[in-house]
């Protein structure tokens, strides 16, 4: 159970064991040096206590000794640095084809939305054995999405997207904490991550949901806000065509270019004047009335617009729906166990 007394956290992601191994290495170094220093201090404090008979002639000089105890720590910390950097690289590098989930943090709850539109609050269901990437943004102050059993956390910042990925390895229910202090109910901004077998997850995900996928909702919003009056599918509009811009460099007025990632697209809508596309006038009005979630939807829609000429934009096959629909109807109907490891 979640509430059981333990001295070691459960390990339930692909990186968890790597973090633990590195941690144990540093624990070993720490224990070794702590015992060494304490033994030396107490030992010499006793042997050379005031008035003891121990010989005190010719104390050593410092040069060669200091060289040794400068080198040993240097080597050790360099090992720690390199090893830690390697693990960090893995934690930071999102694998291709990861399943996308949107996360909005706000005082004091987590709102999550799957790519097929299904929403959750303070609870996240994910399949075991498939990389999941969270695109996170805050509605107000800084929060932090933290799942101890996965050994990962990432700050959730207002005004910009951050991402966090993991691949769960053990079905079970795990703590989800907000790790960045965010005000009165910070300690209640908690929830759980439910890791399910693939099939059970597919069934869960296809359950009733009245929400459009974010990209579809974004397309509707795009029409409702009349963005299309300036942004045509092809050239010739007052604004640039948005088809196929996502993930490509955009030339800017005054030289230079910028990669059109989610943060740039979001900024272009929230503060159009911040960076102007080369060859266009700063005509675009700002849209302060759009909520964090609506902005997420617009960004998802623009990202889903394929390369120029792809035609039917907005209903692209990004997201996890394909494998989920492929899954055979569940016969075993495995409910997620709440026990991660059976210890």
């Amino acid at each position: 159970m979640l509430g059981e007394f333990r001295l070691w956290p459960r390990a339930a992601s692909t990186v968890a064991e790597k973090v633990d191994t590195l941690y144990l290495f540093e624990v070993a170094v720490t224990v070794f040096f702590t015992i060494l220093i304490c033994a030396l201090v107490i030992g010499m404090g006793v042997i050379y206590r005031k008035g003891s008979r121990a010989a005190r002639a010719n104390p050593p000089t410092s040069k060669w000794l200091e060289a040794i105890w400068a080198t040993v720590p240097l080597v050790l910390v360099m090992v720690m640095f390199a090893w830690g950097a390697a693990v960090f690289y893995e934690i930071k590098t999102v694998p291709d084809g990861a399943m996308k989930i949107d996360v909005v943090g706000k005082q004091w709850m987590w709102k999550l939305q799957h790519a097929n539109g299904k929403r959750e609050i303070n609870e996240l269901h994910v399949p075991v054995g498939r990389p999941v990437v969270l695109r996170m943004i805050s509605d107000d102050v800084i929060h932090d999405f933290y799942v101890p059993a996965f050994r990962v956390k990432q700050d959730v910042v207002p005004g910009r997207y951050s991402q966090l990925w993991f691949e769960a390895t053990e079905p079970g229910t795990y703590h989800l904490f907000c790790a960045e202090y965010c005000g009165t109910e910070h300690a209640q901004m908690i929830g759980k991550v439910v890791v399910m077998e693939e099939r059970a997850f597919a069934e869960w995900l296809s359950g009733t949901s009245s929400d459009d996928p974010p990209a579809v909702a974004g397309e509707k919003l795009f029409e409702r806000m009349r963005c299309g009056t300036c942004h045509k599918q092809g050239p010739g509009g007052r604004g640039p065509s948005l088809v196929g811009i996502a993930g490509k460099p955009v030339p800017l007025k005054g030289g230079g270019s910028v990669l059109a990632d989610a943060n740039y697209i979001r900024e272009s809508i929230v503060r159009p004047q911040a960076r102007i596309v080369a060859g266009y006038q700063p005509l675009m009005p700002a849209y302060p009335q759009l909520t964090t979630e609506e902005l997420n939807q617009l960004v998802a829609y623009i990202e889903s617009l394929g390369a120029p000429g792809d035609g039917d934009a907005g209903r692209s096959d990004t997201g996890p729906s394909t494998p989920v629909e492929d899954a055979t109807p569940p016969d075993e109907n495995e409910a997620p166990s709440t026990e991660g490891e059976n210890e």
């Binding site: 333990r6 304490c38 201090v41 010499m44 005031k50 410092s62 693990v87 910042v157």
Partner: protein
């Protein structure tokens, strides 16, 4: 010379009027003013800790409401960092001893010195008022946009308090640098300076270079709040991470402002009670400077998961690891000083040896946090809380208490009761470990910091921690009691009860207002101890009744 000494009153007896204290320019009296006020702030901050540790005995929020809990840890953090840890050793021991150690009659700018105390008090009163009456709940880190947009307006007042108190540090830092540069006695070359002086030199550099940054940051928060200029608030086009960069650019070096002076104290104590020159004197002296400068290049290790780029993470991790090396060498050097020494387990020595053990653990666990792959998991958990308490309480505070005992005879002319001293050092040590060791385990299990309630599985360790905190509380109250007691009932100390080296021990205890009767000339090397010559027995540390009678005759 002795005759002259007997005729002149010491700095305490020189004048008893209230204004002689409040308008004093004597560095020793300023130190005492600081001692008293720092103790008050420390007790306030400690009381807040007691309250929230009580709340954490149970997983449910039952003792205080969440708002109160958040204000309590904010009060605790702000008071302990800005009003206790940063000023404690420099403003109390440094002010008192620095001029004595270099053979000067005062600091370079005595009036600025007094001004710094007033500035400190104004900052302190503003801050406490803001937190207690206004209810500041941002934590001592004041992260934006919570502090700038969401927290209530008392945040500004608390920020103003921190802003003001920064100037008192700056005044002290400038004073120390000028004093060390210009007022050393003839013959007192740089490499004859006690390591305590070196440590304060490095600390003053950090204070002068770093404190203005935090002041500017607080100003920027004020500008944003008052005039709506977008600096940190993303809805105004600002960048919330900018605040973290600026904040840690000061606050990481501030860690060294807290620990370097303590390292200076430890060097003095160990040399005296091992009767040996500190091993690797030059290295320790220079490493203080190296740490001071490198310390400015590692702030990003607080931001590995903030959204800072991965490559920035690599650079900051690498540099942070490098800072670990001189700290490790220092620990080895202190330990090696004991070898073939003549070790006396006095109270200050017990604090110093306790410091070595706790600082070792604190430093090594700092490497966990510098390691990118581990920090992602333990950042903002109790692991961090445990780590910095090992450095701040186990390191900085142990040094402060050790130093207070070591120089108590010099400052007050009285001996503290040795048995009580040793007893309380052990109580502090045991209580400290019981409080903070379980927090490493809690942190690795994933308990986030600043939670007033938590899942049940964390309770056992939290109860241990609270139990330890109450033991530690007793350990801190004991010295308060017996040190005060000693002022009236303690035996009169001789001018050099520890048979220690250093100019401060060549003058009376307590010193006269002008410290030295004639300008001292230094001809010996620093820490000129002889391991064959043990510490004088307790009976020789105090003035015998017959002597003391003649000595008190005015």
């Amino acid at each position: 010379m002795i005759d002259v000494a007997r005729k002149e009153r010491n700095y305490v007896d020189a004048d008893y009027s209230v204004w002689s204290w409040f308008l004093t320019t004597d560095h020793k009296r300023v130190a005492i003013l600081y001692l008293i006020s720092i103790t008050v702030f420390f007790m306030l901050g400690g009381a807040a800790a007691v309250l929230f540790r009580l709340e954490l005995m149970t997983p449910q929020p039952d003792f205080v409401i969440p708002e109160t809990y958040n204000k309590l840890f904010t009060l605790h953090g702000i008071l302990m960092v800005f009003f206790y840890l940063i000023p404690s050793i420099p403003a109390v021991l440094g002010n008192f001893l620095l001029p004595l150690m270099i053979g000067a009659k005062d600091v370079a700018f005595p009036k600025l010195n007094l001004a710094s105390w007033y500035v400190y008090m104004v900052g302190g009163v503003l801050t406490v008022a803001a937190i207690v009456f206004g209810g500041v709940d941002t934590g001592w880190t004041f992260y934006t946009p919570y502090s700038s947009t969401y927290g209530n307006s008392a945040v500004l007042l608390a920020g103003l308090g921190v802003f003001v108190v920064g100037f008192s540090s700056i005044l002290t830092g400038i004073n120390f640098l000028a004093t060390i540069h210009t007022m050393r006695a003839p013959g007192l070359t740089w490499f004859r300076l006690p390591l305590f002086v070196w440590a304060h030199y490095a600390t003053s550099l950090i204070i002068i270079l770093g404190t203005p940054v935090v002041s500017i940051t607080v100003l920027l928060v004020a500008v944003e709040r008052l005039f709506g200029v977008g600096i940190f608030d993303p809805t105004l086009g600002g960048d919330p991470l900018l605040f973290q960069h600026l904040f840690w650019f000061y606050s990481h070096p501030a860690v060294y402002i807290m620990i370097l002076p303590s390292m200076g104290v430890i060097s003095e104590i160990i040399a005296c009670f091992a009767r040996k020159k500190v091993f690797g004197y030059h290295f320790i002296a220079f490493s203080s400077l190296a740490i001071a400068l490198l310390g400015f290049l590692v702030w990003g290790h607080h931001m590995y998961v903030s959204g800072q780029s991965m490559y920035a993470g690599f650079v900051f991790s690498f540099l942070t690891m490098l800072v670990g090396v001189p700290s490790a060498i220092k620990v080895f050097n202190w330990t090696a000083t004991l070898y073939k020494g003549q070790v006396s387990w006095t109270t200050p020595m017990m604090y110093a040896l306790g410091f070595i053990g706790l600082f070792t653990i604190g430093g090594l666990t700092g490497l966990f946090l510098a390691t990118l792959g581990i920090d992602v998991h333990v950042h903002d958990t109790y692991f961090v809380v445990a780590h910095f308490h090992y450095i701040m309480v186990g390191g900085a505070s142990m040094g402060y208490l050790g130093g207070l005992h070591f120089w108590w005879p010099k400052m007050t002319g009285k001996m503290y009761p040795e048995t009580w001293g040793r007893f309380s050092a052990i109580v502090v040590f045991v209580g400290f470990n019981l409080t903070f060791f379980p927090q490493f385990l809690l942190g690795y299990m994933g308990m986030p910091r600043r939670y007033h309630m938590y899942p049940e599985e964390f309770q056992v360790l939290n109860v241990m921690s609270t139990a330890g905190a109450s033991i530690m509380g007793v350990g801190y109250l004991l010295p308060l009691g017996y040190l005060l007691w000693s002022l009236w009932y303690g035996k009169n100390a001789t001018s050099n009860p520890w048979d220690a080296r250093g100019l401060e021990w060549t003058i009376e205890s307590p010193p006269t207002p002008h410290n030295f009767h004639e300008k001292p000339v230094v001809t010996t090397e620093v820490y000129d101890y002889d391991p064959e010559q043990p510490l004088p027995p307790p009976s020789e540390r105090v003035v015998s009744p017959a002597e003391s009678e003649t000595e008190t005759v005015q």
